[in-house]
Amino acid sequence: MTPLDTLFILSACTLAVAWAFGRRPAAGGLIAVLYGGQILALAKMSGLASGALTMIAASPSFEVLGQALSWRFDGPAWFFALITLGAAFASAWFMAGEWGEGYRRKGGRLGLLQVALALNVSSMLLLLASGDLLSLFIGWELMSWASFLLMLSAGGVAVRWAFKYLIYALGGAMALLGALAWIHAQAGSLQYAAVAGLFATLSPGQAWTLVLAFAAGFGIKMALLPFHLWQGPAYAETPGPGSAFLGAISSRMGLFGILVVLVHLAGLDLLDRLLIPFTHLDARDLLGWVGAFTLIVPTFIAVRQHDARHLLAWHGIGQGGYMLIGVMQGDALGSAGGLLHVFNYATYQAALFLVVTAVVHRTGTADLNKLGGLVTRMPLSFLVMLVGIIGLAGLPPMNGFVSKWLIYRDLISSGRPLMFVATVIGTLGTIISVYKLIHNTFLGQLRMEHEDIREAPWSMLAPMLGLIVIVFLTGLMPGLVLDWIAPVQAALGLPVLDHSLGGVDLPNGGLDMLWVVGLLFAGFGVGALLFLAGNRHRYVHPLDNYAGGHFLTTEVRYHYSDDFYPGLMHLIGGWYRGSIQWLERALVSALDFLAQWSQAWFRSAQPALWLLGVTVFALWWVV
């Protein structure tokens, strides 16, 4: 039995336990331990991450209709599996105590949530392990349906968004299936080697069709523009820990697909050869720019959200843009930045979704208009959100800075000014948005009804704090994760980034986070000494402040999130046209119209007359 078999068996056991006992809150701990066991099984395969091994196969393999199906883990699979299992472990731990009980008490189906989560993890592992395009497609479909189940599990408004996801996902699956069928017809095989061989022989027209089909199929999962509309609400309405899992890693499976098929099998050279007529652009630029717009548009949609969960979910789409930009850069620095961002993003996004869930658990709302001032009641949760938003905004000393720095640095050295500006616009949008998040949740006025709020319980705090420790440590020592990324780059045929524990040492401007973070904390130390050198301060009530002659009371609310940046919206508010929403609605209406019309035609026309007509035609044909 290979270590990969062990992992699959453990994953199946987790699923079975979730199925049998998941609805009991007491079983939550056991399920979390089982996810921990899967991480240990993954650790047994760490040879893949250090580059000592290139592949570990699973024992079972099948033959279906002459196609061999096999599963194996390589560097990329190990890296994505680690993030998947880490996110599942944190979510399961979070669910294991008070949250699970509370969810069940409020009528939530805890068992369904646990099963859906376990099913997601198993199907994603299966997808990551796929050794040919057919097993990839099977894993892909299983995962799509599993995430549909997870989104659906809350019921109510979530169902609508889950169905919207399903329609998008089916569209994506059709694109993939079409591409697979065509490849099979041409190459007679769906093995990776045969597919790579086929890609090398295609005419530009054929190659374009295949590239677009795969990019659309995988891109829908990543919610790349213009397929971004489903993801924000669908993830946001999923029950808390589920949304943390989905937000952290689920969409990245789309990136994994792009890495396997477009980067590895087709190769970036092929994308470079596919020119867009009348421009200087090629298919790779196109995908890079899709990434850039996916970064900017959803990020600025996030700025306008006033539900914390929706805000985070929209940022999740935007952050995927960085990853795609980095990967499409294709060189050592850029692709390492994109891949590192997958890991970094998962850590802080999971922490952020969990902390928002903790706030919802205590206050009953994620509406940013109805929160505020909670820092005095939930200080550790505040710390989690603070570290999380610094990561999301990509500021030092957290890990998000390092991955973004690699991407910025690469865009400068490869001479892409507009793309560089696009990435910075994304960062600026993120900064203003996350400040609104933390300000309206934890800072400002405390509402009267929140006077007696307590800190989240330890069963919820522990996984969140664990995640922010990772966010900080991998910011301090990005080399730890870059070590795992080197085999990923090698396996995908990308150049490998030369790095050190603290970052990268480039001759023309490098980064050493060990020094940078040390410097920052030394600076804070000096700042603190200076602060303490001042005269002794005393604390006053938050309402004891100056408001231009007025007296502030708890009845006078000033928290607002609808128009938090009025000056900015005064200028760019008109740019939110909702064109793609309009397009989506137009498509739906057109389909609806067609359906109604054909139904009406079928009903109103005289069936007897049609029957007569057909009979006469048939007789004429026979005669």
Partner: protein, 301 residues
Amino acid sequence: MNLTNLAALAAELLLMPLLAFSIGLFLVLLMRRIGARLQRRVGPPFFQPLADIVKFYAKETQISHGLIHDIGIVMAVGGYVAAEALLPMPGMNGLADKGDVLTLIYFLMIPSLGLALGVGQCANPNGSIGISRALTAMVAYDIPFVIVIFGVAWHYGTTNLVDMIAMQQAAGWGLWDMPLLAVAGLLSLQGMLGKQPFEIYVAPAEIATGPMVEMGGKYMGGLFVMQAFQLYTAGALYATLFLGGGDGHWPTFLLQVFVVMAIPMSIAFQFPRYRTEQMISWFWRWPVALGLAGIALVMHF
């Protein structure tokens, strides 16, 4: 790294923030004197900035709205203290090899974040509006500013500030090679310093000085210290990017910093205040256009 190098580095890490702060105090004085001259006043005496800081820190009434208020001020000052070690001075490179110009500009956002957090806890509507405006202003001026950073980094082929200085010493100032970017940079500086006509987030008559509204005593003192650092950092960064960092000589360097900073300060006292959306559209139009034209110039000629 041997012991002598380590000791030299430690000395630099101590000296750089200290020198930056001292020069910053002179820049505060310069700003006040320029304002006074333009308004036909005498202006404050030489030691006034230092006296102000001592007074703020020593005041008897020191009011805090909570721990985050305190931490915010610590972050605001500490972030700048740390950032100075990434910005080379004549004869001292500090840690500029460990973090490049990109790291520096993201470092400079940490004090703003600290201030935003601290003001947030004060729960004052004026402060909150001030921060909303300050962050909006950042979206406005940072876009032309990063365009300038891109152009400069592309031109020198490096993001390392030490290398940039060395190259300018060998081949002449960046100002002559990148005049458009230099102008765009200067315009961005005006917004970055929050000087008129872009002082939308202070706006004393509108929102009661915005972020500063709940700050008194050492909190205000912290902001004063931060301002001194900010003025120095802006001037020194500009001198490093475009003026060869004083060609490695202290007198030239100081002269450059003072001249560069005198420009936005002189402009500031001539203007009333723009509205927020006017500021954004101004920055997204003129400095961005100049910056992009500057990049085109640098990349193609």
